[in-house]
């Protein structure tokens, strides 16, 4: 699968943004297997871009396509199919079910299109240091723990693209590194691309292309 961006600019941004940005207003293509790093300070539209790519927001001009399919024209059912089979995400605001346990949160995604067996949940939780929290409700976990839950959840399905929106904002360096390693391993397993939007560059993400938003 390939993602095409054509002259994309959020409706609420001034056209002058296109001059300074390497993404807004440009024609870009992201292929499977690439590691794309998007760096931008706060308020420059990182979360907007990730939401546009995932198809949950449509307030932009220009077009974004999954291969030949224009995202804005996809039906709810078609979008659900893409999210189930081709594109996974770690939201900046995590979006977990607060009243469900950590395991249930992850299982809800896993059962949708299982790429891994259920035991993989324990293994990944162990690696990221949240195994003791598997039976706890998400709302009583710390933000850092919840961030790791969101990361593991995103890795439970098959995908061609993994979208990351500041996934380590509440993690220390060591835990961030562990999580990144896991995500890289899982992406390699699927020959998938990672599109990683963050405030700054991090050394342990081996990007193949870098864009300033």
């Amino acid at each position: 699968m390939t993602i095409h961006l054509q002259q994309v600019l959020p409706e609420y941004f001034d056209a002058s943004r296109m001059d300074s940005s390497e993404v807004w207003g440009k024609d870009l293509q992201f292929q499977k297997g690439e590691y794309i790093k998007i760096v931008a300070p706060s308020g420059s539209g990182k979360s907007s871009l990730v939401s546009f790519l995932y198809g949950i927001r449509k307030e932009y001009n220009g077009s974004i396509r999954y291969d030949d399919a224009v995202i804005k024209n996809l039906s709810a059912e078609q979008l659900a199919q893409y999210r189930k089979n081709h594109i996974s995400i770690v939201f900046q605001d995590l979006r977990l079910f607060p009243e469900q346990t950590v395991r249930d949160n992850i299982e809800l995604k896993r059962q949708l299109n299982p790429f891994h067996p259920p035991e993989k949940i324990d293994e990944m939780a162990e690696r990221l240091g949240i195994a003791p929290k598997l039976s706890s409700r998400c709302r009583i976990c710390s933000y850092g723990e919840q961030q790791r839950v969101a990361i593991i959840r995103a890795l439970m399905q098959p995908f061609d693209f993994l979208l990351l929106d500041e996934p380590f904002s509440h993690l220390d360096e060591k835990n961030s590194q562990k999580a990144m390693e896991l995500m890289l391993e899982e992406s390699r397993l699927r020959n998938a691309a990672i599109i990683f939007a963050d405030l700054e560059r991090i050394d342990y993400f081996p990007f193949t292309r870098l864009f300033h938003l």
Binding site: A76, K84, R95, F97, Q100, E107, Q111, L112, N113
Partner: protein
């Protein structure tokens, strides 16, 4: 491995406003019960009153004659049925058969013989056997035979028993009547006469006349009659439903007279069916209200579970699959409610047949198949409307 709804169920706040959910179940139960009972009673009425005494093989047999008015009085031409009129009647879609009731065209007298000594001028008629409810085995006549079998209306016996005491004649029972030897006196135009022995072979509730075998009357009309052409003053009509408004309108328009008794069941039937139709419509209204109440409950439940449902859709759950599964949650209760109403209808029907209408073989102790089909349709309708609603609400969340 198929996608499981089990981990999703706790995400739906089904306990929200559970009161209105239970109210809607109760409402649905009452509405469905009313509707099913009404349909069952409608069918019962159809079976009880639709097949009154005049019916044979699902047909009504009634006689019609022309209304004699002051203007047509005495004009035989206008009061008898012509061949064209009979043909026109037979061609009507609501009429399945027409047979003229042919009368004698000569002077005819009946005498009770020695047991019932009276003599009276009378009339006899003949009719195609197809139109007679039960043709007794002895109802045949051959030329040269002096015995003539006859079927008489049971009303005539009743009338006789009313006036007999006043004339010093004995009253007679049905059993005696059928053994009674009558004397038929047929007059030639010149006044000479011949006698036949009449033998009552059956009493009829349907035919308001004295019926002799057709070949006897044809022979007698030829032999004693003073007119060659025999025309009918009464016609017997075979129809699917003597109370069909189109049929009755046609007869009224042609100014044909119908035996009111034959259609009185129809009037009672219409009223009763009207009452039960009203009840059925009320039941349907209650069902609609119950479905409406349940739709409020669904809307509230989805509004309260909005965040969770929205997140499920965001992480890739198909709105169609979710709508399906959310709706399916309520299938067992819906099926149970409708089956309960169906069981109550069955008990009602059994009790109605056993205690209110015992011994009526035209009724069944079991509910009619239409009732079962309606119950199944109602389950389908409820599930479909719920599915549509949930689907719409979920797509709105997208």
């Amino acid at each position: 491995m198929s996608l499981s709804f089990k981990p999703i169920r706790p995400l739906l706040q089904t306990s929200a406003n559970a009161g209105s959910r239970w109210f809607s179940y109760v409402g649905l139960g009452i509405g469905v019960l009313l509707l099913l009972c009404s349909i069952q009673m409608y069918v019962n009425i159809q079976q009880l009153l639709g097949e009154n005494a005049s019916q044979k093989d699902g047909f009504d047999y009634i006689s019609i004659s022309k209304t004699i008015t002051n203007e047509t009085m005495g004009q035989l031409e206008k009061n008898l049925f012509h061949e064209e009129e009979i043909k026109e009647l037979a061609s009507q879609p609501f009429i399945d058969g027409v047979s003229p009731l042919l009368a004698n065209n000569f002077r005819f007298q009946v005498s009770g013989g020695s047991l019932v000594p009276f003599v009276s001028d009378f009339f006899v008629e003949s009719l195609d056997e197809e139109f007679i409810d039960t043709v007794p085995p002895g109802f045949t006549w051959q030329e040269g035979q002096t015995d003539v079998p006859v079927i008489i209306a049971s009303d005539f016996l009743e009338i006789y028993n009313v006036f007999a005491p006043g004339y010093g004649l004995p009253q007679i029972s049905e059993a005696t009547a059928t053994n009674l030897g009558l004397l038929f006196i047929c007059y030639y135009p010149d006044g000479s006469r011949e006698m036949f022995r009449g033998r009552i072979v059956a009493l009829s509730d349907r035919i308001n006349s004295i019926i002799v075998p057709k070949n006897f009357l044809d022979w007698a009309n030829q032999r004693y009659g003073h007119r060659q052409e025999v025309r009918a003053s009464r016609l017997y009509i075979k129809t699917r439903d003597a109370n069909n408004p189109a049929f009755l309108d046609y007869l009224a328009q042609k100014q044909y007279k119908v035996n009111k008794d034959k259609t009185k069941f129809g009037r009672v039937k219409t009223i009763l069916q009207g009452v039960f139709s009203g009840l059925g419509i009320f039941g349907l209204l209650v069902v609609v209200l119950a479905l409406l109440l349940f739709s409020f409950y669904l809307q509230l439940m989805i509004a309260r579970s909005k965040d969770n449902l929205q997140l499920l859709l965001t992480i890739g759950y198909s709105p169609q699959w979710l709508s399906n599964r959310v709706t399916r949650q309520f299938i067992p209760t819906y099926v149970l409610v409708v089956l309960f109403a169906l069981a109550c209808t069955q008990i009602m029907q059994w009790a109605f047949h056993q205690f209110v209408m015992p011994g009526r073989s035209e009724l069944s102790s079991w509910t009619h198949w239409v009732v079962v089909v309606v119950a199944l349709l109602l389950i389908g309708l409820s599930l479909f409307t719920n599915y549509r609603l949930v689907r719409k609400l979920l797509y709105n969340l997208y």
